[in-house]
C-alpha cells in the first residue's frame, strides 16, 4: 500500500478535528430539544406528545429547525442530555428544579384524584375518611426512597395497607406503561388513583369506563409536600441567551400552547395560589 497523499492526510486531520469538536457546539439554525422517545402524553419519537407539539411551536416562533436528542427521562437524564451538550432545551421541568436555568412556567398542573364515575368514591381531599377504606393507587418513583407527593401524604396519615403502587417506569411496549395506574382503576383493581394531572388527563378518556378527575386538596401538605407544580422549559445554567429567547417565544405563543394542552386534556392549576 502506498502512503496517503498530503491532501488525503490533511483531509483526515480535518475530519479528526471535526470529530474532536464533538457535539457540544450548537448548530446555528437548530432548536435542539432533549426529550424522552417513549413517554406519552409528554413526548415520543414519533412526535405525538404535547411536549413535541410545544417544541414545534417554539421552533417555528424562533425560526429554527427542530432537532431532538432522545434519552429516557430517568436518573441521569439531565446529565446525559443538557450535561453532555448534545441538546440545549428541556421541556416539562418542574419549578424549583436546580439543575437547569428555567424559563417562566408555561403551565401548572396538579396531582388529581381519579375514580370510576358512578362507582368509586368521589374523593377530593387527602383527609377524606374514605381513603382509609377503599383501595388507593399511587404512582411510585422510588428515587432514593422518594416518591410522588401523594404517596408520602398517605403514609403521613397512616394510610398504608390499602395502598397499591404503580411505578412510573415502563414503556409503551411493556405490560406496564405509565398509564397502567388508570388501567388498574378502570379494571377495578383499585377504587381511587392519585395521578399527576397530565397523565390522568390523557389516559383517563382512553379507558373502557368513564373516569372522573379532581385536583388533590389541600394543595399544600407541609412539611415538604405540594401537589401543584408549575412547569417550565430548562436550558443550561449559563445559557442566558437561549433562556431569554424561549421566554419571549413562550409568551408570544401562549394561546397556541394553551390550545395544545387543552387538546391533551392537561388539567391546569394556578401555581400562584400555592407559592
Amino acid at each position: 500500500m502506498s502512503s496517503p497523499s498530503p491532501e488525503a492526510r490533511l483531509l483526515v486531520l480535518a475530519l479528526i478535528a471535526l470529530l474532536l469538536a464533538g457535539p457540544a457546539a450548537a448548530t446555528p439554525g437548530e432548536l435542539r430539544v432533549c426529550a424522552d422517545p417513549d413517554n406519552l402524553p409528554f413526548s415520543n419519537a414519533r412526535g405525538e406528545g404535547f411536549e413535541n407539539r410545544v417544541a414545534e411551536v417554539l421552533a417555528r416562533e424562533l425560526g429554527l429547525a427542530l432537532r431532538y436528542t432522545w434519552w429516557a427521562q430517568r436518573r441521569g437524564f439531565v446529565r446525559q442530555t443538557l450535561g453532555t451538550g448534545t441538546c440545549d432545551v428541556l421541556l416539562g421541568v418542574p419549578e424549583g428544579f436546580e439543575r437547569a436555568r428555567l424559563t417562566r412556567p408555561y403551565y401548572a398542573s396538579t396531582y388529581v384524584f381519579a375514580w370510576r364515575r358512578g362507582d368509586g368514591p368521589a374523593v377530593r381531599s387527602l383527609d377524606d375518611p374514605a381513603l382509609r377504606r377503599v383501595r388507593v393507587g399511587v404512582q411510585l418513583i422510588g428515587n432514593d426512597g422518594t416518591n410522588t407527593p401523594p404517596a408520602h401524604a398517605l403514609a403521613r396519615r397512616g394510610i398504608v395497607d390499602n395502598v397499591r403502587g404503580y411505578t412510573v417506569y415502563g414503556s409503551s411496549t411493556t405490560a406496564e406503561p405509565p398509564g397502567r395506574i388508570l388501567t388498574a382503576l378502570a379494571a377495578g383493581e383499585i377504587d381511587v388513583a392519585l395521578v399527576w394531572g397530565p397523565l390522568a388527563g390523557y389516559f383517563a378518556p382512553r379507558q373502557a369506563v368513564a373516569i372522573e378527575l379532581a385536583p388533590v386538596t389541600p394543595a399544600l401538605d407541609p412539611p415538604g409536600l405540594r401537589f401543584v407544580f408549575a412547569i417550565a422549559a430548562g436550558v443550561r445554567k449559563d445559557d442566558t441567551a437561549l433562556g431569554e429567547r424561549l421566554d419571549a417565544a413562550l409568551a408570544a405563543r401562549r394561546a397556541e400552547i394553551d390550545a395544545i394542552l387543552d387538546a391533551y386534556g392537561v388539567p391546569r392549576a394556578r401555581a400562584a395560589d400555592v407559592r
Partner: protein
Amino acid sequence: MTAPRPATLAVLGSLLALLAAAASRRTLDAAPADDGQWVRPAKDLAATRYSSLDQVTAANVKTLRLAWSFDLGVERGEEAAPLVVGDTMYVVTPFPNVLYAFDLTRPGTVRWKYEPTPATEAQGVACCDVVTRGAAYADGLVVFNTLDAHTVAVDARSGREQWKTRLGEIARGETMTMAPLIVGDKVLVGNSGGEMGVRGWLTALDLHSGRLAWRAYSTGPDRDVLIGPGFKPFYTFDQGRDLGVTSWPPEAWKIGGGTVWGWLSYDPELDLVYYGTANPGPWNAEQRPGDNKWTATIFARRPATGEAVWAYQVSPHDLYDYDGVNELVLLDLDLAGRRRKVAVRPDRNGYVYVLDRATGEVLSATPFGHVTTTKGVDLTSGRLTYVDAKKPELGKVVRGVCPAAPGAKDWQPSSWSPRTGLLYIPHQNLCMDVEGVEASYIAGTPYVGSATRMYAGPGGHRGLLTAWDPVNARAAWRITERFPVWSGTLATGGDVVFYGTMDRAFKAVHARTGEPLWRFETVSGIIGQPITYRGPDGRQYVAVLSGVGGWAGAIVSAGLDARDASAALGFAHAMRDLPGATPKGGRLYVFALP
C-alpha cells in the same frame, strides 16, 4: 501532576501478635497449590482474593514496573476484574460490554474480541454509571452479564457466542452489573435496579445451555423465595411463614427491590452458596412498615436447587439505602478457642459481621467505620438497633447521618491473607445531611425529594484501607486516602496488598504493617479489582483496570455538574474536587518485576 497526599499510617497491632494470630487461621481452600490463574473475580470460591504467588514480595515490589497496557476504548467506570485462564487474559468493559481476549504469550496482543451489542437504552436505566464487575470462567466458557440484562457465554478459545439468555427487562428498570459465580454446572446471576420497582432475584442457568434452572426471588411468598422445609434461620425474627409477604403492606413486596447485584461465594463442604440482597424499594420507608423481607438479607442456598437453608436480615426495614450485597469471605477461624466455619462480611451499614456460615448465627458485629445511624447488633435477637434521631423524614433536617447512602463500604471487594490473618477492606468515610427538599422529575412526573449532601466523615479523609482482624474484631492498621477507596484489594503470598485510588495511584503496601512500598500513576482513577497471575513465562504479573467512574466517580465519567450538590444523589457534592484529580479513562495495566 498533583503531589500525592502522604498516606497516614496507624499501626495498631504489633507484628508479633499478628504472626502468632496468623498461625491459628487458614483460608478455606488454601490447601491446593496455586495454579497461577485467576478464573473468577474473587480468585477462589471462598472469595478471598488471595494468591499465594510470591515472586513479588514486600522486599522487591519497589522495582515493579509496567509490562504492557491496553486502551480499552471505553471511558466509563472500569470496575471489572481481568481473568486469566491458561495463556489468555479476558477483560470485559463497561457498557457496551466488550469482551477482550489477550494473548499472554505475546503481551498486549488481542486474540479476539466479542461484542454483545447491548441495547442503548440500558444506559438510561442503570443507576450508577454503566459498570460491569466482570466475567467468570468455567469449562471452556467465559460467562458475563450485559447491562441490558442478558447473560452470555462465549467460547474461551474462539470468542464465539455459545448462548445468550435474556433475564430481565430494561424497560422496567432491570439491568445486570454483577459478575456471575459458576458452581458446578450452574451459572448464578442476579439483577440490579431496585430503586425502580424491580423485584430482586438470584437465578441459576445451566452452564452449557444457558437455560434457566431455578430462580429465587428476594421478596414474596416462600415458594417464590425457594423457602421450604429445609429452611432454618438462626434468629426468631427471620422465622415464620411467608415473611416475604407479611413483613410488607399488602402487595408492596411485588415491586419490593432486594436485587442481587453484589458478590457470591460458595463452600463445597457445606454445599452452600452465599450472597446478599439489596435495599427495599421503590416505596418510601414510611409507606412500607415492617421488616421488608428479604431485602438487605444474607442467604445461604443449595446451588443445585436454589433451596434456602438459612437467611439473616442484616438491615431490617432499611432507611438509608444500605444494600446488603457486599462480599462474604469464607474462612475457618479459631474463635474463643473453637474452630468455626465463618463468613466475614464488611457491610454497607458499617459493621464487620462474623457469621457461622453453617447456621447464620452472628458471632460478632463490630463497627469498622464511623456509624451514627445504628447502635449495634443485639447478638441475642440478631437485630440491628436504629437510632431514632437519625431517621430521615421528608421535610425534616437530619444532620450527621453516618455512614451516608453508599455505606461505610460499597461493592468494592476485600481480600484476605491467611498469612497475616487480616481482611483488607477498601472503603469510604462519608456522612450526609438531609437538609430540606428540592423539586425533580422522572418520566414527566414531578415530585419533591430530600436534598441530601454527602461529605467526609470525622478526620476529613473520604477513603480508607482498613486491615481488619476478624478474630479480635479490631483494625490492625489503617491507611487514609483523599477519595473513597472504590477499588478492590488483592493480597499475595509475598505479603503485599495492592489497591488503587480514585486519584490515579496503583499502590502496593506491606500486608503486615500497611507500610507503603510502591506506587504507579495511571491514566485515570482506579475503581477496578486488581489481580495477580503466573504468566506463560513463569513470572508473576499484577493487573488492574484504570478508569474512574461508578457511583463515586460519576462526576468524572458522566460529567456531572460539580456545582450541583444533589447530583448522583448527593455523592457528587462529596466528590467535587475529583475532576481536578483525574480525567476519565479506560486502560488495562499489567505489571511485572524487571
